[in-house]
Subunit: 461 residues, 2 copies
């Protein structure tokens, strides 16, 4: 039950129109895209300024009420789902794009700005944000930073962490850390901003950020390449990166099962004369489309002579590029065609991804003959996705998870490449982190949030 004095103090801190209590909290703010069960928070607070966030956190400290920060609520791990007895603190009203510095290629934004709003502000100046993801219209920069979002641009520009030059963060006790200096080089003690990126709101609330921007490419070429093995795929990737350093924008590898399912679900035509074990969808950026296509054609010729590429389709137009990308974008169809999908977002040492996939497949087939599972991923950045149809494994989600995460541990991989831990992967964190690392994380948590009020129960208990 909400203590009246506490609610009054919240209202004094953030304004009456910024506080909704109990049953008045909209359903939207009670869960996220992870499918974790809804929880009604004590109150939803939507402050309009950093000062108000700080004031709210001071009130919560005083009353010992936990705080669950919320961005666009598009997370896949349950990190922003409320906790009973906590307030939900939405950054959604702090959504200004404050300034864009074309000389330095930087942009200063409030945490609640959507990724798409920031992308559009950059594009208006011929620049781009290094990170892009499907949820761009809903997800917020603060959430992107708190979860260290990945997505489509990682191969070229890195994760969200690499885009952040500076952050403003409010600690649990209301202290504001104004770490907004926009310099690329700044060696003045511990680089505190990295403590908060990827911490999923467990150490503080991100309120503003300075992000670096990149020149928007003048030209882009898209090619779909047929390959016979994972090793040949890696060889092609190496060849591409050596020929187009820093310009390979995507290298999405799809196992045959994924391609077959995608073509079937979307009624698309087979892109090659025959099915092949792998297909790689590649984007390369450059300054001239014709030159770029000619250079790629030459490279593909070399690759075929070397026995890597088996066949290839080079998109001759943006429309054709979109058609090729449709094959990869079948992920949006997973919920409609699996019953339901059991999704994995793992990463592995790159050379091991092929063997890891084979091992998982064999183990799945041995235990659940006839199961349906598709393998696909960014691969160029070490990230593999797997979706298993729960209906074909007797609904044994935990059994499948244990099987896959055990292999992740054996191969020295990560149970979460880009989605984070939240509550969803908490039981498996130990597969990717040693007890010594977990103890160090707890020591940091204790140091910055001694009362344990920031997003409790997320990441670890």
């Amino acid at each position: 039950m909400a203590d009246a004095a506490f609610i009054d103090a919240l209202i004094a801190a953030a304004g009456a129109d910024a506080v909704q209590v109990g049953d008045a909290v909209p359903l939207h703010h009670r869960t996220d895209w992870s499918g974790v069960t809804s929880v009604q928070p004590v109150a939803l607070v939507r402050p309009r300024s950093t000062d108000a966030v700080a004031a709210v956190l001071r009130v919560c400290s005083e009353f010992r009420v936990p705080v669950v920060p919320q961005g666009g609520l598009t997370g896949m791990a349950g990190g922003a789902v409320p906790v009973a007895g906590a307030i939900a603190l939405s950054l959604g009203r702090m959504n200004a794009v404050e300034s864009l510095d074309t000389a330095a290629s930087t942009i200063t934004v409030q945490a609640g700005a959507t990724l798409q709003a920031v992308q559009e502000a950059a594009a208006a100046q011929g620049l781009q944000v290094g990170v892009d993801l499907g949820a761009r219209g809903s997800c917020q920069i603060g959430g992107n930073l708190a979860t260290n979002a990945g997505g489509n641009g990682v191969l070229q520009f890195g994760m969200m962490r690499e885009q952040a030059l500076g952050l403003e963060v409010v600690l649990a006790d209301g202290t504001v850390l104004p770490m907004l200096r926009p310099m690329i080089k700044n060696n003045t003690g511990y680089d505190l901003k990295h403590f908060f990126i990827g911490a999923e709101g467990t150490l503080g609330v991100i309120t503003r950020a300075v992000l670096r921007l990149h020149p928007a490419p003048r030209a882009k070429a898209t090619v779909l390449v047929a390959l016979g093995s994972f090793e040949q795929s890696l060889a092609l990737l190496g060849r591409l990166q050596a020929r187009f350093p820093g310009a390979v924008a995507a290298f999405e590898l799809m196992w045959r099962d994924f391609v077959a399912a995608s073509l079937h679900w979307q009624s698309l035509r087979e892109p090659f004369d025959a099915p092949h074990p792998f297909a790689a969808l590649v984007d390369v950026t450059g300054s001239d489309e014709d030159e770029l296509r000619a250079a790629i054609e030459e490279l593909l010729g070399e690759s075929m002579e070397a026995g890597e590429a088996l066949d290839a389709v080079i998109a001759q137009s943006q429309a054709q590029a979109r058609t090729l990308w449709k094959i990869r974008e079948a992920t949006a169809e997973l919920p409609a065609h699996m019953h339901p999908p059991i999704n994995f977002d793992v990463s592995l040492p790159m050379a091991e991804i092929g063997r890891f996939a084979d091992t998982c497949r064999s183990a799945l087939d041995a235990r659940w003959p006839g199961n349906i599972a598709v393998f696909f991923g960014h691969v160029g950045d070490s990230n593999l996705h797997i979706s298993v149809d729960a209906g074909t494994v007797g609904g044994d989600e935990h059994g499948v998870e244990k099987l896959v995460y055990d292999q992740v541990a054996t191969f020295g991989g990560s149970v979460s490449a880009e989605h984070g831990i939240g509550t969803h992967k908490k039981p498996y964190l130990g597969a990717s982190r040693t007890p010594a690392e977990l103890a160090a994380m707890r020591a940091i948590k204790q140091a910055l949030d001694p009362m344990g009020l920031m997003n409790p129960g997320k990441l670890f208990d």
Copy 2:
């Protein structure tokens, strides 16, 4: 005085030949390149393995003896200079390049490997390390990471932090954190490695690292461009980055005073028909030298038409490129020609660098008429260097430092772009960090090194 039981325990931990005591400690290990006064440590310990490092740290914890980690001792801020009563812990014997993964473009090395050794191992596979600096033959990877080294490649590949995929670190109590997973994507809780990068050995000892490598460029073009103003320089940089995204490897801006001093000291010829207020030395990488030079020539034509570039020299050979670079490399001559130089390594919001330099120059001239000062820097990554001849300011080093760092604070810059804080810049850390940030750093220090044994007195007291 060294306690005999303590020395015996060190010998038991690391081996008799790994421990030198008191007067036997070589002079080399008593200071670094910063010019800070030598200090004799209780002992110098040079372990051969991570286990031995852990055993030595357990002994030091037990006896409450502080530890000063040492790499190649090329630091400019005094971070690795021993502290009275402490041991010096040299990583120099842990210098193996353990493995190189060409599929993933990663290299696993021990902390004591020199940067040059790692560069050579990468080059043998057609790859390169993202960081390069003058001290490459002496500096060690562990020190590069502990100080988050910058140098020549930052514009293209970022600082040392951006090269690190994984670290192995030993905490003060001997706990080993084996954070060596080599994946680009790994969102499993706090990314602890970032806590130790740039921490200058105050939180733990880096013992091994996995670094990402980049394809070595097939072609490189070097051009020296004459410019009339700082704003024109930034416009040229923007134009270069839009035309050659990710391929501008250097953009070194030199104010006229620096160019004039460099030409004079090295008896070089004026590169242009007339002196100009600024000269920018630019390296661009690509896949074909002729194509690259043609593209740059075209861009320079546009830049001149737009009123940015005033004149330009495109190197037609590697030899000519080296001649152009000699102008920038006059920094090696500073100690011979200044009495002595008072050196600054600051960074600023990029658009402000020109105004900052003008302001510093005016303030220096007003207070010390006839002073000699040169301004130069990487600029493309926000980094400005200044060297002032102490002989022309009445030897008032502290007066000059206060003047410059006050301006850094006013302009919202950093007192240390790439050299770190060590002991040398400790008095000025407050110009770049707020009390709240310093308090957060102290809380982290307390959490990971509660007895305060790791490199005490560095960064902060």
